[in-house]
Assembly symmetry: C2
Homo-oligomer: 433 residues x 2
């Protein structure tokens, strides 16, 4: 008789229904692979009437999530409620009962990671969260297992499918941001309230989870420099393309000189780089390790099925650990002794794409060049576009590397010059060299 | 006092030295991550004098590999000898002693996989082989763990860095095969005896390992249809590029109608597909699962450091299993009950790129079109090139899908036509739709 492992699923929304469907479809396959029968004992949701497109025995459904956590037939708690309050309480209850938790909740991990990692450790229970970053891409597992012999030096990720879909369509069809966002909302690729995605917060949540996992230190949301893609101009996407780049919303996490840089912003990526080929709703994460070199992981970043795939993989892992009596075979989080300090925003060094709006008259560039020079910023190339907007013309330049503080100070001076018609548009450049 | 796990390394060549260096560099980090101290107890090699660029205590070095396997202080055997005879014997000795084995030996797994998987199972010992496919890419782990909730439907991989390097340079620099191969040999990117790589055998070895792992059945080398890239014509690379494709040596493993198709050949890949962006010595594997959809894994495919990264990840895994007394937490190989049968070569269905050498006179295409039609092959597009080679002109056509058997029969007839000047060049096309 095959050993059964009982599951309690909290949250019967899109992902919850995907997990139930996946377990129904591939339950026999999982039993062959793991030697364990994964059985859904309880599903909690406030709405028990809605049709999710999957059939479940009505007796497993309940509105009482806490009772599911406490149910002695539930061995593994699968938290798919989302949000940071109720989900956190239920998770802590599960740990207090010594039960492992599988979650897709990046916001909770990013905002209360220290608490929940500590509670899992104290109670000797697994906390698995593959689904929290990169949907179906087994990136957390790659960091924890496959690359465990590496000191990670850099992670660059396209981690939000909505933003990548918008940027891809803007480039391919030369459409303005507002139109593409509106159409994405109609098609279900963007939320009615899109701020979490397009302002970069969702990507920042995922960056925090990855940074903590890879670099062995607690990272807070305040440690991340975040800019989103709201109102990005199709003009800049076109200019970037002419210069051989694509604009991607990128999370960049890297250790340099003993400091950890964590930032999220639209970035110019060389068109020949693998990350530039990641189109539409797909996600990808490039991980560089000191032994393995450069690796990259690609897949759908969100949605019912990819997320369900990650959740089910974690359930199988937690079940194996229960069966083998090896909970926390791999800790949820390991603090490393020589973990790097967080780098201050101004101390980051990057190249920049700048688009100035300059009066179309001889010598107008002189002041700008002077100010940049004074702040130690040297110019790699300048393209003056023959496009006129009133009395101003766009001047696009790519700089060499300089400190972010220097850019900030220089642009503060430039943008108040009499010959400058509008705030300078700027994007970081990542050359991956 | 941290628990020590003793390692016995068989083979102190390129990869062996990389493993030793990686363990020296990141031993403390691994100890923090795993709670275990991985200690090299013995290293066996026939050549004990050569300088490998790493320092080891001379007392660990020995010529007696069997003694290393038998040494009671050796808990994990790391097989890096290569080849299929001695390596197999030593591996079986290790299993007989109940010791786990970590290996990079794809040839052994492809040719004697059934034996060694069975011996590992019988003796309750781990057999881990992440390094055997895709170098530093944790693809085996992704299949065994992250994607365990999926029925795998298709795997397409660029698995040989030498071939990918040659094809990339041929395309970028429009150079002939022989010149690029010779330069690759000089630069150390290709072996002096390059057959294993360029004739597709190495890729086939890896395809066998992946196919068995993903589809749950024994796969033999005879089950794989193999063509390499030897003598590939720069002309076809250029024509493919004009048509929007790149030529890649691809392993394709897919389940369709209950049959498993396993083949290795140069394939036209759409230039917009991620696999087409994989340049130089890099490898990539696209895995499609019924829940997760399409995922892709990318990294350096061979060489000292990427391979060492994979070996060390496996050593950490085996050590965790020893410490937790959970050997074979995940079996090396699981036979699935409804595993698909191997599809016969003629029953495979693909599209083809055909380059005919036709007499440059009116009506010459008629016979060819007739023969193709009679074999149920319909033509998607034809491009007649204005290049002349004596009295013949190249005619390039892309077909719709048809059975391989039909192509073989049709080309047998076409190539003996009086108006055909040379054997028709053909490559499969993979559209990923």
């Amino acid at each position: 008789m095959m050993k059964e492992v009982g599951l309690g699923i909290l949250g019967f929304g899109t992902v919850g229904a995907g997990v139930v469907e996946g377990l129904q479809r591939n339950g026999d396959l999982l039993a062959e692979r793991t030697g364990l029968r994964l059985t859904i004992r309880k599903i909690a949701d406030l709405d028990l009437d809605r049709d999710r497109g999957v059939e479940v025995d009505p007796s497993v459904l309940t509105k009482d999530a806490a009772a599911v956590v406490a149910d002695p037939s539930v061995d593994i708690v699968v938290e798919l409620i989302g949000g940071t309050n109720v989900a956190r309480e239920l998770m802590l209850q599960a740990f207090a009962a010594g039960k492992p938790v599988v979650t897709a909740n990046k916001a909770l991990l990013a905002e209360h990671g220290d608490d929940v990692y500590a509670a899992a450790e104290k109670n000797g229970a697994d906390l698995l969260f593959e689904a929290s970053v990169g949907g179906g891409i087994p990136i957390i597992r790659a960091l924890r297992e496959g690359l465990s012999g590496n000191r990670i030096t850099q992670i660059c990720g396209i981690l939000n499918g909505t933003c990548n879909y918008i940027l891809t369509r803007m480039e391919h069809e030369q459409l303005p941001f507002d139109q593409v966002l509106a159409e994405a909302q109609q098609a279900g690729y963007a939320e009615a309230e899109p701020a979490l995605d397009i302002d970069g917060l969702d990507t920042a949540h995922k960056a925090v989870v990855l940074a903590a996992q890879a670099f062995g230190r607690s990272v807070r949301m305040d440690d991340v420099q975040v800019e989103g893609i709201r109102g990005i101009d199709a003009l800049d996407i076109a200019y970037a393309a002419e210069l051989g780049y694509r604009i991607k919303l990128l999370a960049v996490i890297k250790e340099e000189d003993g400091e950890l840089e964590v930032r999220v912003s639209p970035v110019l990526v060389p068109r020949t780089h693998m990350l530039a080929s990641v189109g539409g709703v797909f996600n990808a994460v490039q991980v560089t390790g000191d032994v393995v070199g450069e690796t990259l992981y690609y897949g759908r970043g969100a949605g019912r099925e990819p997320t369900a795939s990650a959740v089910i993989g974690d359930i199988a892992d937690a079940a194996r650990n229960l069966a083998g009596r090896t909970p926390r075979r791999i800790p949820s989080f390991v603090t490393l002794k020589d973990a790097p300090a967080i780098r201050a925003a101004d101390a980051m060094r990057t190249r920049y794409y700048l688009r100035l709006s300059l009066k179309d008259a001889p010598g107008m560039f002189g002041h700008v060049a002077q100010i940049l020079g004074r702040h130690g910023i040297s110019i790699a190339s300048v393209v003056q576009k023959e496009v006129r907007s009133g009395e101003y013309v766009p001047v696009v330049m790519l700089t060499h590397q300089a400190h972010e503080g220097a850019f900030r100070a220089a642009l503060d001076e430039i943008d108040v010059l009499e010959e400058v018609g509008a705030a300078t548009v700027r994007f970081r450049i990542e050359d991956f060299e």
